[in-house]
């Protein structure tokens, strides 16, 4: 079981209210991603769930029981840290076995579980090495191994991939997703990378200044963002926002069009000059300075033949998101 419920959870450091009040339901077995810009309180929220920080007010329930004042070890959760937080003086085997030793398990049971975890994570040949002798990816696997041997109610991941290089990050992202599918245990994952959020999550929680802006499935957030913040945060490159007469034509204060929903066309309604053009092979990212509107980002096919200084015409070719003056989405 791994159902977690937050009821009006608040956290303040002196006069600074980092989490002004959060309500959230996480179902057993869900992969929930907390995403938001730096300093939005996502890591603090995770630490509150872990018990590494005390709540200022509110209740945290784990599997229906009030865990607000329980110490971290008694919450039945396991955490993977950004810095891996491995014990440098212990071998991989001892690192993974540490939580089992603390739980008072027999040596035989410890060995059995460590070997099972090592097999799942491909760590078999590294068990007698120390963390200092491992690469970043291997260290992260050890940290995950240390978390899974406890068979916790839920896993908490605090930006676990941010210290890895881009290629390794993609690989580890897939491994964590596969692990979730095989273990079917609740996972709460904190990241500022919305690609990680979109690819891994069953449910994304978008945070901004300690408040939950929107909770939903990745595509729900992508297709129906509740406000300008979510619309701008989810999706890469960022959604284009247009105000003024062009927005008023659609009965809105602001309209949003995703870069992939704009096409280059001879009969396009907007005309502009190409600023920056990046050709990645699979995609092209183009910035076009449209008179009367501003800079529009466009994502086109790899073979799109436009370059700096070209005068082109554009048209929205997908959903136009409409927002009111308060930044809330219009139905």
């Amino acid at each position: 079981m791994g159902q977690i419920t937050l009821k009006q959870v608040r956290k303040s450091f002196g006069d600074v209210h980092v989490i002004p009040g959060v309500d959230l339901d996480i179902q057993d077995g869900e992969f929930v991603v907390f995403v938001g810009p730096s300093g939005c309180g996502k890591s603090t929220l995770l630490r509150l769930i872990a018990g590494l920080e005390d709540t200022t007010a509110g209740t945290i329930e784990i599997d229906g029981k009030n865990a607000t004042n329980l110490p971290p070890a008694r919450r039945g959760l396991a955490m993977v840290f950004q810095s891996y937080a491995l014990y440098p003086h212990m071998t991989v085997r001892k690192n993974i076995a540490f939580p089992l030793k603390m739980a008072g398990m027999t040596e035989a049971e410890q060995t059995k579980r460590v070997e099972r975890a090592a097999k799942v994570l491909n760590l078999g040949s590294y068990l007698d090495r120390r963390p200092g002798q491992l690469s970043g990816g291997q260290r992260q696997r050890v940290a995950i191994g240390r978390a899974i041997v406890r068979e916790p109610a839920a896993f908490l991941f605090d930006e676990p991939l941010s210290n890895l290089d881009a290629a390794l990050r993609v690989g580890m992202r897939q491994e964590i997703s596969e692990l979730h599918q095989s273990l079917k245990t609740t996972m709460i994952y904190v990241t500022h990378d919305q690609v990680e959020a979109m690819t891994m999550a069953d449910k994304i929680v978008v945070l901004n200044a300690g408040r939950i802006e929107q909770v939903g499935a990745p595509l729900e957030l992508y297709n129906n963002p509740r406000n300008l913040f979510v619309a701008g945060f989810i999706g890469s490159p960022k959604m284009n926002f247009i105000t003024g007469p062009e927005a008023e034509k659609h009965g809105a204060h602001t309209i949003g069009v995703r870069p992939e929903h704009i096409r280059v066309a001879d009969d396009g309604i907007w005309q502009g000059v190409v600023g920056l053009s990046e050709h990645l092979g699979s995609d092209s990212f183009i910035k076009v300075d449209v008179s009367g509107i501003g800079v529009i980002n466009l994502r086109g096919p790899g073979e799109l033949n436009v370059h700096h200084g070209d005068r082109i015409r554009l048209s929205p070719a997908g959903k136009i998101h409409r927002f009111d003056a308060q930044g809330l989405a219009l139905k």
Binding site: P72, A73, A78, M79, L86, P88, M102
Partner: protein, 276 residues
């Protein structure tokens, strides 16, 4: 851009370093050389660095006249004992200061350090009377307590600096892994801080070994360590420089050897945390 080091510059720096090193070491060298001179050549005027009539007689006489092994053993017990007791108190204290600091932790640390700036003679009379009243005068236990209290601020400060270098996330990971506070300190913090604890231990053994003010004041014969052994050679009949030097050499030799073998650890300890 890296600073260019010309051979000429390297020579100047090397010569300057040797000069400073010899200047610092000269009193010790003089003492060792004097310990092998006769009393007459030890007080010769003008002073002689080297003498023609080398002798080991001073050592034989010092050894015969006093119970060196007893003084040596007292020094070992007092310096090691006060350091171990100090560590037992300072490890939990430094842990709490480094990982769960309060609003006044910095002030407390500064206050502890400031006690080291107070002249020891300021508390001489109360300490002396107190030790006599409670039966700690001229006991090893008394000296262990006194030296531990004298050096505790330094031990806490050094350990605090080491502990601050240990990432808090590792201790949080231990907490998540189910470690109690005791297990966190025993299985995670202490093994990670072993280099720091070892440096602190070595430095404090040296400080306690070399401590003379309290060891001479608070002892007579039973608990007297090597510092009191040296002082016993300044007899009322006059100073016998050659014998005094032999006694001093015998007193500092063990700690000099310890310092020599542990210099790497000591230097690392003293510069730890200076550059992050």
């Amino acid at each position: 851009m890296a600073r260019a080091v010309t051979p000429q510059r390297q020579w100047i720096v090397t010569i300057a370093a040797w000069f400073v090193a010899l200047l610092i070491f000269f009193p010790v060298l003089w003492m060792i050389l004097t310990s092998f001179k006769t009393e007459a050549s030890a007080v010769a005027s003008p002073p002689q660095l080297f003498t023609a009539d080398w002798t080991t007689e001073n050592y034989t006489e010092v050894w015969a006249r006093s119970d060196y092994p007893r003084f040596f053993w007292n020094s070992v017990v007092i310096s090691v004992g006060s350091t171990l007791l100090g560590l037992a108190i300072a490890i939990p204290a430094a842990w709490s200061m480094a990982f769960v600091p309060g609003k006044r932790t910095k002030d407390l640390l500064m206050w502890m350090l400031s006690t080291k700036m107070m002249p020891a003679v300021g508390v001489l009379i109360p300490m002396y009377l107190l030790f006599q009243k409670i039966g700690l005068y001229d006991t090893k236990t008394g000296l262990i307590l006194a030296l531990m209290l004298m050096n505790l601020p330094i031990i806490v400060w050094m350990l605090y600096t080491y502990f601050k270098e240990i990432p808090g996330e590792i201790l949080e990971a231990a907490r998540m892994d189910g470690a109690s506070l005791w297990n966190e300190v025993v299985y995670v913090l202490t093994p990670m801080a072993i280099p720091g604890i070892a440096s602190t231990m070595l430095l404090n053994i040296i400080l306690a070994w070399n401590e003379a003010f309290w060891t001479i004041t608070l002892t007579t014969t039973k608990a007297a360590p090597l510092s009191a052994f040296i002082a016993s050679f300044s007899a009322p009949q006059g100073l016998f420089y050659a014998k005094l030097s032999a006694a001093s050499t015998m007193a500092i030799l063990p700690i000099l050897i310890l310092g020599w073998f542990s210099q790497k650890q000591l230097v690392r300890g003293l510069t730890f945390g200076a550059v992050k």
